[in-house]
Symmetry: C2
Subunit: 163 residues, 2 copies
């Protein structure tokens, strides 16, 4: 599989990003975001000031996006956090893995000491397997912390790795 090209998102990428974010937000199965969130609010969130936001493309077509940010400000800013979304059409093509490797490399280069995911939905088996394959471990499960639109109340995982 040819790795996608990963570039910083720019000011004109709103429509491209929203096309990726909208199906994920509307499905409500993997992110704790309001399912009826509008484009402006979603882009404000995904491009907020503390985040660096990236787009993964193949042949000029955006297939995924991720952000990298400090998980906490102040005394917690040496631990990174990241969030990833791919287009439905791009699932299973290694886009998320390529983005995660890119995020880990950038986090290391930026001097982060660790990366933490705060809220990995327990039903999201593909993501959990991917994060484990990249070195993340589960620190704990948050009991019934996520209301899944089909599965009901399910756990969320805190995942972590030192860099």
């Amino acid at each position: 599989m040819i790795d996608p090209v990963i570039r910083r998102a720019g000011l004109n990428d709103g429509p491209v990003l929203w096309a990726i974010l909208a199906p994920v937000i509307r499905a409500g199965e993997t992110y704790a975001l309001p399912r009826d969130m509008g484009a402006d609010a979603a882009l404000d969130y995904w491009l907020s000031a503390e985040k660096q936001t990236f787009i993964a493309e193949r042949d000029g077509i955006a297939l995924g996006t991720y952000y990298l940010r400090p998980n906490q400000p102040g005394g917690g800013a040496h631990v990174a956090n990241a969030g990833f979304m791919t287009t439905p059409a791009a699932r299973g093509q290694g886009i998320a893995r390529a983005m995660a490797r890119d995020a880990l490399a950038r986090a290391r280069a930026a001097g982060y000491r660790a990366m933490q995911f705060n809220f990995v939905i327990a039903t999201n088996a593909g993501a959990i397997a991917l994060w484990e394959s990249l070195g993340f471990r589960t620190l704990c499960r948050l009991p019934l912390a996520f209301d899944h639109p089909h599965a009901g109340l399910v756990d969320a995982l805190v995942m972590f790795q030192e860099l």
Copy 2:
């Protein structure tokens, strides 16, 4: 000990709140916030739209403040989060305990299913003992997730209780 009066913070409470927040933020020992954070940014954070903010007073003197909010939006909004600060002069007078009991009661009344603290600094023994006495348990420790100004890198705790 007479319980403090706890009331919603209003539009004119900025100076009162900042007097409580400033020493905690400047000390940098218990909150992952920038130690040089200005009053406007601190008040924007403590009074942000998703939070309900309260002030604990005795004889009309503000001794502490707390906020209550959904810990996550969307599918995570049934779990509450709260943050507490007391004035240095009011430590050891049961202000934090009274505020935490108030927060738990309000969270129950509002229909929250649980309350989670995301980042309790491991060196903050008084807070941890208080939360445990009120029914919180530690779900996991985040390894070296907080850079304490005197102790260096220390763990942070994820604490949780069902309501």
